[in-house]
């Protein structure tokens, strides 16, 4: 383990920025947001960002390809550019795990090369959470905010930042800044981990369990009579899906620009009425069916296809942001009980 005085943080960002773009959570009037570091940028102390870190690897809108029509010829233009190297600094444990979940979707065959390009160029530097909120339930999914995953994990204790590399990428990254770091013992970090674990035990959602869910529970959960009540006041907006670090559905849109077509990929939401519209019509006509899809996907279909891993990391964003305060925790509690 190595450490750095917090007073030298600006210097560290400056040094890191020489080699790559550095993104970190920054306080804005409406909450924290990831922003590129430039001289004077201060790291936010907020627990987490409003938008998740998934924007870095799965942006809300991206241009996939252009088709240019010239008489009878169609020219296909690959609009991709090699992504620049970047670091996401100060990501939390929940968001770090969400990258693993998105990897299962985009990096399994056939590999999504747009995603892969971004993923390969990014280094994830995570930070342990010292003040989790009542809406946090990462521990339900086996995530420990005291030991966040990522290429490098960090902790802030008593005016110092502690670093530990977890991957080859992380080791290379630490080497690139090693002249600023000094070797140290793990006592301070161990004490902090113990403290965080104690806080986690006090959180109101500490006892939320996943036992009632998983790939083998399909029929009983799908047919539960409780969906009607759970979904009755859902607005069918996309807030829960768009703030969610693991929601991964997208739409592909072609725009006619007169002399060809620009093809875009954009986030979509299963909560939207046109999500499953196809040539023959729509297979999910009620909000009940759309609402059920979101939670069945996270709690049943995703684990069925991914060795039991659930499609939620317990970040609590949907708990905080749903206009009607309906969310995965209420769904889980209603369905299991």
């Amino acid at each position: 383990m190595q450490k750095l005085s917090m007073e030298k943080l600006d210097e560290l960002f400056r040094k890191m920025s020489e080699k790559q773009a550095v993104y970190l959570p920054v306080d804005k009037e409406n909450g924290a947001k990831f922003e590129k570091w430039s001289e004077g940028t201060k790291m936010s102390q907020a627990l987490n960002t409003i938008r998740s870190a998934k924007d870095f690897i799965f942006p809300q809108t991206e241009n996939l390809v252009d088709f240019k029509v010239n008489g009878k010829n169609i020219e296909v233009a690959d609009t991709r550019e090699e992504c620049e190297d970047f670091v996401i600094f100060g990501m939390k444990a929940c968001d770090a795990r969400s990258f693993g979940i998105l990897d299962k979707v985009f990096l399994s065959e056939p590999v999504d090369t747009y995603y892969k390009n971004r993923r390969e160029h990014g280094v994830l530097v995570t930070l342990a959470c010292t003040k989790p909120s009542e809406t946090c339930f990462c521990q339900t999914f086996g995530i420990n905010p005291a030991e966040p995953e990522g290429d490098v994990s960090t902790w802030i204790a008593d005016g110092e930042m502690y670093f530990e590399a977890n991957t080859e990428k992380g080791k290379t990254f630490i080497e690139s800044i090693s002249d600023m770091l000094e070797d140290c013992g793990t006592e301070k970090v161990d004490a902090q981990k113990a403290k965080i674990n104690e806080i986690m035990r006090k959180l109101p959602l500490n006892n939320l369990k996943t036992d009632a869910f998983g790939g083998d529970k399909l029929n009983e959960l799908f047919n539960s009579p409780k969906w009607a009540e759970l979904s009755e006041s859902c607005l069918g907006c996309g807030t829960c899906t768009f703030v969610c670090p693991t929601c991964q559905c997208y739409d592909i849109k072609d725009f006619d620009c007169g002399n060809g077509v620009k093809r875009f990929r954009c986030w979509d939401s299963c909560m939207y009425s046109d999500f499953t519209r196809m040539a023959h019509g729509n297979s999910r006509n009620s909000q009940l069916e759309r609402f059920r899809q979101r939670f069945m996907h996270k709690l049943v279909y995703f684990p069925a296809n991914n060795d039991g891993e659930f499609g939620c990391v317990g970040c609590g964003r949907c708990l905080a942001k749903c206009p009607i305060s309906m969310n995965i925790v209420k769904v889980m509690k209603a369905l299991e009980g």
Binding site: N30, Q60, E134, R277, I324, V329
Partner: protein, 324 residues
């Protein structure tokens, strides 16, 4: 208040006046309340709640609910009654299928604003009227209710119920001195460039979740143009950064003269964009150009933007007022 509402709901269910009740249901924490339909006394006893966090305007749910069989009891706060009335005017609600009980409101609090004060790990909230005592796993905190009200409640336009079948408590008055146009006036006094920068900054935060539109009682189209791929403007994929802005501009125009300023759009926006300012600009302009008008105050009659009179301002007004 909650006790009297529960009593009334049970009575009206019991004597058959209504067959269901729409109200608010308590959540996991002290503040995460959900609008809900109750069908019997047991459900009401178990979960019905009315407290400082019941900000949700229930009027829009009645578009769907009033088409079902039987009568529904709805509890409406003063500002919610304006939305209800406006929907009656637009023929979107079957009035005879709704029994309205008007309830008083002293302003609703925002849990988000409490959290913005750095309060986290909330395990309970109690109120003594003026202050909240917030219990957290990190220790107890006290916050003044007036510091954590929803924006719309800090500038409440009316404590009067414009439509109801029955009231609990005394009816209030329209607040003629609401300062709700102060910020709009500030924006009007900016230069065009400053104003443009203000809105570009705010609207660039939008994630196009559509919560503002879906919660809005004035947005009651069966199929919004923005959801209709055949409309040519459904901009799920925003090709330029101005497209998101167009969504808001078009929406503001579409609800102009119909928006009652219920404030739900700003309440639900996950990015805390002050959307109400766009709508209030229209309301202020209508007041100035056509005479004072409050959407939702009446359930019938003609409205400034849908009635032609010879005194109406000329289109050139846009140039005269707009391009400072």
């Amino acid at each position: 208040m909650q006790g009297r509402m529960i009593e009334m709901a049970k009575k009206l269910l019991g004597d058959g006046t209504v067959n269901r009740v729409i109200g608010w249901k308590k959540g996991e924490f002290a503040y995460d309340i959900t609008p809900a339909v109750f069908e019997n006394a047991e459900e009401i006893d178990a979960d019905f709640v009315y407290d400082d966090f019941c900000g949700h305007n229930l009027s829009k749910y009645l578009i769907k609910e009033s088409k079902k069989d039987g009568k529904m009891l709805v509890f409406l706060k003063p500002c919610d009654t304006y939305s209800f009335n406006q929907l009656i005017k637009e023929h979107r609600i079957n009035r005879e299928n709704v029994y309205i009980v008007g309830i008083p409101c002293e302003g609703k609090a925002s849990a988000e604003t409490i959290k913005e004060k750095g309060i986290s790990g909330i395990t309970g909230i109690s109120s003594d009227g003026d202050n909240f005592k917030v219990n957290t796993i990190y220790g107890d905190e006290t916050v003044a209710k007036s510091d954590v009200l929803e924006e719309r409640c800090t500038v409440c336009k009316s404590k009067k119920h414009v439509v109801y079948d029955e009231l609990i408590g005394e009816d209030g008055e329209v607040n003629e001195n609401s300062s709700r146009f102060d910020m709009v006036a500030k924006l009007e006094n900016m230069t065009a460039d400053e104003r443009y920068a203000f809105w570009r900054n705010e609207l660039s935060k939008c994630i196009r979740c559509n919560a503002c539109r879906n919660v809005c009682p004035a947005c009651s189209c069966e199929n919004c143009v923005f959801d209709n791929p055949n409309s040519g403007v459904s901009n799920k994929a925003a090709v330029t950064s101005f497209e998101e802005n167009m969504f808001h501009i078009i929406r503001a125009f579409h609800v102009a003269g119909r928006c009652t300023d219920c404030g739900e759009c700003s309440r639900v926006c996950p990015q805390n964009i002050p959307l109400h300012l766009l709508n209030r600009k229209f309301i202020k302009d209508i007041n100035e150009l056509y005479g004072d008008y409050q959407a939702g105050e009446e359930s019938e009659g003609r409205t400034p933007l849908t009635t032609y009179t010879k005194e109406d301002c000329e289109p050139s007004i846009v140039n005269e007022r707009g391009c400072k």
